[in-house]
Amino acid sequence: MPLKLMDVEANYDACRALKGISFEVPEGSIVALLGPNGAGKSTTLRVISGVIRPSAGTIEFDGQRLERSSPEAIVKFGIVHIPEGRRVFPTLTVLENLKMGAYMRRDASGIRDDLEKVYGLFPILKKYAKHHAGSLSGGEQQMLAIGRGLMARPRVLLLDEPSLGLSPKLVTEIFRIVRTINTENKTSILIVEQNARMALGVAHYGYVLQVGKIVISGTARELEEKDAVTSSYMGRVQCNI
């Protein structure tokens, strides 16, 4: 079942951040959401995960309407949002962070299996399991943020700028892992990125957002050929009503 947004609008006080956007994330696919600073990419993810309520439009997943659901309910549906800037719990240990990712789950043995899977994907997390998350490097924190999200056993993963501030080598590593998560668990992934080339490299479909509207859409191959995608990253757009 795809995740489907229809005519979704969202506001921050006087700022209209999303002006009616529609797109879908087909089951098992990777979709890249691109666009300049302030376009509304993070807002799109926050609307899906229920942190902010859309002022209009519908969000559908698995035959269920999500736009009025609480963030907890949305995690239960299997949609997990890994926020921009990693946002690990700095005073909790790595293991405690991972446990919090599985907060909604009651299947102790499934949680144990998934913990081993996450450790397999990110051996460094096992090594630092007892360390405070705040003491990890940026790259390690990003791995923890992804691992913590995976502990919820997501069917759809919303990833906000996972490569931000990482060295080129780590960026490649993160994208390799994104692909692995998609192929091994059939997890659908909606990935927001500044790094358009890398994102389109792993994605099946892509959308370009500009001041709250989708201006370009197509398969990743099609978007790679359009210059518009890379040239749309010019300056920061201020919110206009």
Binding site: S49, V51, P71, E72, V75, K76, V80, H81, I82, P83, R87, V88, F89, P90, T91, L92, E96, K99, M100, G101, Y103, M104, H132, G134, R148, A152
Partner: protein, 289 residues
């Protein structure tokens, strides 16, 4: 003499710590400096009198009933007052707890009267000898109970899902929400823990300071000063701060006279705010349980 004053200082300080830790827990999860924390204890002390002396429940039943009453009171304050304004700025939250403080003072005075009531000494005050030091049995028991509660909290925050979630919310509310942690429920639970601590503080302090609507007023200040020692974030900091206040006021009381007991807490708060505004544990306050 000095060692004895040290011990009684630790005994009273450990009771202040019950208030200080509750203030820290509620503050770091809700940005609320809870001025009603002392009054939760005060209502608890009155309830204990009702259960024990009026309804003639057994000691243990009266104790459990008091514990439940105070937890219910704290949860009601959260659900009926604080939740409605949870997104407001800290000053609004603070002022709301001031309102609760006056309401609880007023209602208690109206129901139970404004005069001071004595509270039965549950534990004997006859001194026992420990390592050559004479210390009242009540002091020993207070230290043991407060220590036991400290251990219980430590285990709760370290090993239970709800306890770890409470710390996660302290770190990052929005990230906690994204992980599916039911933030509203965990905040209610935080107030419930505040009520739990308040009930113990009320029942253990009542035999010492007697029962009246204003009984907790100075204890609240001392607990707050203890909490400030931990930068309002660190539980170990709040405990250390409270013990220091207990010790300092006992020693000051012993050498300078009892009327200096309260003054010493204020002197300490001025000193901390002047020299270590982020608490005794300073920058690392956010790193601890």
């Amino acid at each position: 003499m000095f060692a004895q004053q040290l011990m009684s200082g630790i005994a009273t300080g450990s009771l202040y710590a019950l208030t200080a830790v509750a203030i820290v827990l509620i503050f770091r999860n809700t940005r609320t400096i809870n001025l009603a924390q002392g009054d939760f204890s005060m209502v608890g002390a009155f309830m204990a009198l009702v259960f024990f002396q009026v309804l003639h429940l057994s000691l243990i039943l009266a104790f459990v009933a008091t514990l439940i009453s105070v937890i219910v009171l704290a949860v009601l304050v959260e659900l009926l007052v604080m939740r409605k304004i949870r997104n407001a700025d800290w000053l609004t939250l603070f002022t709301a707890t001031l309102g609760v403080y006056y309401i609880l003072h007023g209602v208690s005075g109206w129901i139970w009267g404004r005069d001071t009531k004595s509270f039965p000494n549950i534990f004997s005050v006859t001194p026992v000898s420990i390592g050559g030091m004479l210390i009242s049995e009540a002091h020993v028991i207070n230290i043991l109970i407060a220590g036991g509660i400290g251990l219980l909290l430590f285990l709760f925050f370290k090993y239970t899902r709800a306890g770890i979630a409470m710390r996660a919310i302290t770190d990052d509310v929005e990230a906690a929400q994204l992980m599916g942690i039911p933030v509203k429920f965990v905040v209610t639970l935080t107030w419930a823990v505040g009520g739990f601590l308040a009930a113990f503080a009320g029942m253990l302090l009542a035999p010492i300071i007697y029962v009246s609507p204003g009984m907790m007023d100075t204890v609240l200040i001392k607990g707050y000063v203890g909490a400030v020692f931990g930068g309002l974030y660190s539980i170990p900091g709040a405990i250390v701060g409270s013990l220091m206040i207990g010790i300092a006021e006992n020693i000051a009381g012993g050498y300078l006279g009892a009327q200096y007991k309260v003054t010493i807490a204020f002197v300490m708060i001025v000193l901390i705010l002047a020299f270590r505004p982020r608490g005794l544990m300073g920058g690392q306050a956010r790193r601890e349980v």
